[in-house]
Amino acid sequence: MSVELTGAEITIRCLQEEGVQCIFGYPGGAVLFIYDELFKQDKVRHILVRHEQAALHAADGYARSSNNVGVALVTSGPGLTNAVTGIATAYMDSIPLVIISGQVPTSAIGLDAFQEVDTVGITRPCVKHNFLVKDIKDLAETIKKAFYIASTGRPGPVLVDIPKDISQQKTQFIYPDKVVMRSYNPVVKGHSRQIKKAAELILSAKRPMIYAGGGVILSNAAAQLTELTQMLDFPCTTTLMGLGGYPATDKQSLGMLGMHGTYEANMAMQYCDVLVAVGARFDDRVIGNPKHFSNENRKIIHIDIDPSSISKRVKVDVPIVGDVLDVLKELIKTLKTEKTKPDQPAIKDWWKQIDLWRERDCLKFDRDSKIIKPQMVIERLYHITKGDAFITSDVGQHQMWAAQFYKFDKPRRWINSGGLGTMGFGMPAAMGVQLANPKGKVACITGEASIQMCIQELSTCKQYKLPLKIVNLNNRYMGMVRQWQEFFHGNRYAESYMDALPDFVKLAESYGHVGMKIERPEDIDDALKEAFKLKDRLVFMDFITDQTENVFPMVPGGKGLSEMILV
């Protein structure tokens, strides 16, 4: 006779079967049985956050930095609504998460019960898929499907809503080895004829450009992208989400492109004749105005696992649907068998042009300033960590400076909310990164506005002894809002001044952490060095920076890539 398990036991057993080591959550009425089962075992570690949004960001940071599925557990009603920002953040950046939410008992669904919301309805537009488990017999298979859907194809968050009575009922536990779904079979292999066409086009290029996005990171194809770029001697730019997909310190890297991309990357993107887009989606922050972008004639090869990303904003000539890793491997193989070779003289001329653009030195800033320049802090952070830290960020100017000045040579080191642009992401994400990489150096680059959106997590960091290094670029403004108001709203700084700031040093200390306030440029290095020496302590570094500094270059909204505002 087989033993029957409760829904709660089954839930935890499923997580164990999936090899989940760490989950992030917050208990409540509808998930009490599940928490009770968590309590009785020691394979799955639970990290108690202080707000459900942080649980999602932490699971997200865990997933991004480790290539595992991140798992969060929240209760019904407000637990779930608090989590929505985090779910949407992961959805926009295609991060594999499984979210388990409690629900009121099936008999109470639809009756406006205490802590009831239509979880499946609320989350539907911001998940890859979601399930409401209405029969205990479906529970194990549903969780299996959730992990499968989250981690395959274009990854994304999948939610499983479990009513309280289901977590209490009993059934036999069978965890399926695999799932077969007739309605979900993501394409992995690229079409060989399309790959051949792409290879021919690549070899005909006179002004080639490789443009790589987050898909390269998600499919673990950084090595293949690097091989392709270097065998062809092509320039390569990465999007905000693609940083680390190609080594930023390599001479063929043009840095990031887009609204705050480098002059050379944006110009090369605009004026290339063959563009190879790899796991990127031509979004508004990357190419600016699509009409302006299409003014120039160029042939576009687009490799993406999601067919709906292809020809969405820009018409492409050679679409290749497939996993970036698989397609790049095939493409490299095909290129090696081609008889024609790249047009080296033309490419040499193209590099000459690119070098001229590089001479514009678009990321220059005042290095002799008596007030701390935010760029300087990040540059020093880069040097002191030898470029080897995991960097998370919040959203705004500091995020762009981090992307511009920290040179990422490895994938999964740069963790930020690119698509949704979620302030409050940085610190909780860093917690997840630190838990996934206990020996790694983890720094959160933030600002005094963003950090306050999830500041309560200093408490979580204390409880679990997470030695994050928080680099707070404090300019007493919502910097990016202020910058737009300066440029486009006649210097009317409506509600963008951060008044009534706490004393961050004392705040950090009140949570048992180390706080530092740094006001002079000459103190930057010492502060950073000391902070990283304190290996087992969270150090909150409050850098008082220049209030008037702006992020350059900048492509104003609605403008074309070559219409940058330069410093």
């Binding site: 890859k128 859907i149 309605s183 067919p307 709906s308």
Partner: protein, 163 residues
């Protein structure tokens, strides 16, 4: 341009709301939508009529395909197809109008399925434009109530939408 899209999806609670939600979230318009289970009760077949440029309709079909519960999608405009819509229309029918409306119903190959001394209820099947034409022909003031199913479509000949 008007496109008629056919799709097969898992016959599960919530599948319809995913399709409807997709259209509102992405700003696509739905002219009509009809859905019912197929001969295989685990599958539903949906016919969607939408208006948009070729690029937009291409995105619509790709986005529909991306929904986990959607099994197959085709744009019936890509080939020869037949479409039919059912309409029930209640009209005021008194005195000489009774004969006139009856004749008109015959011309449009409809049938009167309910009769009172003051009204007829007419069942009419055809393309959406045929139903429009009928309504244009009947005196506007005589129409008391209409209910339409929205178009259903199917490919001609060997063109089959199946799992």
């Amino acid at each position: 341009m008007r496109h008629i899209i056919s799709l097969l999806m898992e016959n599960e609670a919530g599948a319809l709301s995913r399709v409807a939600g997709l259209f509102s979230a992405r700003g696509y318009n739905i002219e009509s939508l009809s859905v019912a289970p197929t001969e295989d009760p685990t599958l539903s077949r949906m016919t969607l009529v939408t208006i948009g440029s070729d690029e937009v309709v291409e995105q619509v079909t790709k986005q529909l395909n991306k929904l986990i519960e959607v099994v197959k999608v085709i744009d019936l405009n890509d080939g020869n197809h037949i479409e039919r819509e059912l309409m029930l229309v209640k009209v005021r029918a008194i005195d000489s109008d009774r004969e006139e409306i009856k004749r008109l119903t015959e011309i449009f190959r409809g049938s009167i399925i309910d009769v009172t001394d003051k009204s007829y209820t007419i069942e009419l099947t055809g393309t959406s434009s045929k139903l429009d034409a009928f309504l244009d022909t009947v005196k506007r003031s005589a129409v008391l109530e209409t209910v339409r199913t929205g178009a259903s479509g199917i490919g001609r000949g060997e063109w089959i939408l199946k799992v």
